[in-house]
């Protein structure tokens, strides 16, 4: 299968709040995403997963690295060519309340991307709006309504309808179900899976929720402080988590089955301040298996349970 999206050595650095230091929000990330598949990116707040997603779309300008989308060098594109390419790369946000203009009708919200890209005439755009509403499971009468008339789950359906209106090939979904109640979350996850199959979409799916990522992803990246610490096929990551951070993340999830056994599986400490990351492996201050070399030397990526399953840890 050919890669739809290939990212090599991507870095996105920001000036720190105090103006002196540098925050390495994304610090040398590489991955590929095959057409028709889903790449899940998981990590805690501050790990850089949302910055990575926005950098790939150049909603935030990366500092260095390569982004290739469908054979095109995304970083080399002029603003105008980039705008045209965005037709194929859309984003769905976490907060369906904040990402829809409250003064626009749903019909206007969904027609807007078509107008921006000068697709069709008024009648054909209207027909497309009705079509995407149907695809996301909303009635045609939604066209004349406004965002406040919908529940959180319905608004997220509208956000998804807006993203698919242009028939994109890639959708970046940034915590798309995190603000929703459990019973609504499953409806939206099922919708995303069925749209992927019906429309041949690929997803870059960002979430802090490991169970959600396991459900939807084919391939998973685990991020910690701007770096990928583990990556591989979803089955390998969850059946044989290799990085101590991945192991701790999985152990920390509250389970409604039998209780988590002992308190020793609880990871101590906080995620470090991204402005002052620890030297060596950034995870070493919290790592139960840290060795002397972890404090000075960032571990190279190496094979874990299989050649495709990669881990950056001195244990391997």
């Amino acid at each position: 299968m050919t890669a739809l999206l290939a990212v090599r050595g991507l870095k996105t650095h920001f000036r720190a709040r105090d103006g002196a230091g540098i925050v390495r929000a994304v610090d040398g990330v590489s991955f590929t995403l095959d057409a028709g598949s889903t790449l899940g990116i998981v990590g805690e707040s501050g790990c850089g997963k949302s910055t990575l997603a926005r950098s790939v779309l150049r909603l935030i300008e990366p500092s260095s690295g390569e982004i290739t989308f469908d054979g095109e060098d995304v970083r080399a594109l002029s603003a105008r060519r980039l705008a045209a390419l965005r037709r194929h790369m859309q984003i769905v946000f976490q907060d369906p309340y904040a990402s829809l203009d409250p003064r626009q009708s749903i019909g206007a919200i969904l027609a807007e991307p078509l107008e921006i890209h000068r697709i069709g005439d008024r009648a054909s755009r209207h027909a497309r709006v009705l079509e995407v509403l149907g695809l996301v499971g909303l009635d045609a009468e939604a066209v004349g309504k406004f965002p406040h008339e919908f529940s959180g789950g319905q608004r997220q359906r509208i956000g998804i309808a807006r993203a698919i209106a242009l028939s994109p090939r890639l959708i970046v979904a940034d915590e798309p179900v995190s603000a929703l109640d459990v019973s609504i979350q499953s409806q939206i996850l099922n919708l995303l899976v069925s749209l992927r199959e019906r429309l041949g979409l690929s997803y870059l799916f960002i979430s802090h929720d490991l169970a959600v990522v396991e459900h939807i992803s084919d391939w998973v990246l685990v991020m910690y402080l701007g770096r990928i610490v583990e990556s591989g096929p979803v089955e390998a990551i969850y059946a044989r988590p290799s990085h101590p951070y991945t192991q701790a993340l999985i152990a920390a999830i509250p389970q409604s089955g039998p209780r988590r056994q002992a308190a020793q599986s609880v990871l101590a400490g906080d995620v470090p301040d991204p402005e002052h990351p620890p030297a060596g492996c950034p995870f070493h201050p919290r790592c139960p298996k840290a060795m002397p070399r972890c404090t000075s030397e960032f571990p190279d990526e190496r094979a874990a349970s299989s050649p495709a399953h990669r881990v950056s840890c001195h244990l391997y």
Binding site: E44, G152, S183, N190, A211, H215, S256, G257, V266, L267
Partner: protein, 337 residues
């Protein structure tokens, strides 16, 4: 609910509590006959989705709901046999933070950004006449160490914005526990936290509950969180408790169709399925609830009776062929077998 070790009287007994809110379109019922008991030393989880009424229940116990627009239409909230709803405002203020401690979802909005951590803990001690001046400051330091915020000497001088979310929630715990309360009410205490930090806070709640010998009312939308901490679980839906049982029992054999739907619809680690089970539709907003069971519009097991008549919370036995499960109750005319 079931008394623990045969303990006699409940610490907290919410009896037939009904609360409504005044809106532009008239009065709207938010809680409709909530019954819940917590015995000394017990941890009870109150689980529900947005709009279920779980936070309104907690706020009613603390009498922190603004009135108007809220109004208690009927019911009692007995704390050690005394009706909190009948207490004069001054006595209720003395109860809050002294006998009943509370922590909330977002510690940044409950902590005062302009005062140091040490000042805010010492203030809680002084307010309830436990300690003043240097003595209060020393006890504040000891409390910080107990909730795992060290070194106390440095932390006491810090302001809330200098702490991470997890540490702020620990400071809230120190304030809530300052007066050695009988009951801790924790309203979504880990919802804003990362999963590794959430695990730390849940462990802390379990440990402090044992150390302080207090009861806990944990309000959450997350069934997994309840399973970690609670002995007993009550599930709320549309202003009523629809099922309650021991945590082990509830997870093994849920009887209310809503409880079962909630458990099934969350993706579970290590169990990949192509399509997740869902509960169709959404929670009916207050004011759009019919006379019968609040779940009737989304329920695959609904009977004609369900739309007309609200089912009472009543004992349900175990699955067919097993012995009855005492203390397991569901409000359903056609429970899951």
């Amino acid at each position: 609910m079931i008394p623990k070790d045969g303990a006699s009287a409940p610490l907290l007994a919410i009896e037939d509590l009904a609360v409504s809110f005044g809106t532009e379109s008239g009065r709207v019922s938010v809680l409709d006959g909530v019954n819940l008991s917590i015995f000394p030393g017990q941890a009870v989880g109150l689980v529900g989705e947005s709009g279920s009424g779980k936070s309104v229940t907690a706020m009613s116990v603390m009498r922190l709901l603004p009135s108007p627009p809220s109004r208690v239409d009927r019911g009692r909230i007995l704390f050690r046999g005394q009706d909190l709803l009948a207490l004069p405002a001054g006595k209720m203020r003395a109860m809050r933070g002294d006998r009943i401690g509370m922590i909330f979802q977002e510690p940044m909005t409950s902590l005062n950004p302009t005062f140091t951590v040490g000042f805010q803990i010492a203030e809680a001690l002084a307010l309830h006449g436990k300690a003043r001046g240097v003595a209060a400051h020393e006890r504040a330091g000891a409390l910080l160490e107990r909730v795992g915020v060290g070194p106390a000497a440095r932390r006491l001088r810090q302001y809330p914005h200098e702490l991470s979310g997890g540490l702020r929630q620990r400071v809230m715990m120190a304030i809530a526990l300052a007066c050695d309360p009988d009951l801790l009410i924790a309203d979504e205490p880990t919802t804003a936290l990362d999963v590794t930090i959430q695990a730390q806070i849940l462990d802390l709640i379990a440990r402090l509950r044992a150390e302080f010998g207090m009861s806990v009312l944990l309000i959450t939308h997350d069934l997994g969180v309840v399973a970690e901490v609670c002995d007993l679980v009550a599930v709320m839906y549309a202003g009523r408790i629809v099922e309650q049982a021991s945590a082990a029992r509830l997870f093994a054999a849920p009887r209310h169709p809503y409880t079962l739907g909630l458990m099934e619809s969350a993706p579970k680690l290590g169990q990949r399925v192509k399509e997740l089970p869902t509960i169709p539709g959404m929670v009916p907003p207050p004011g759009k609830r019919g006379p019968g069971c609040g779940f009737v519009g989304r329920c695959g097991r609904a009977l004609a009776r369900c739309a007309a008549e609200p089912p009472p919370l009543a004992p349900v036995g175990g699955p067919v062929g097993s012995s009855a499960s005492p203390g397991h109750e569901a409000a359903c005319w056609n429970p899951v077998p």
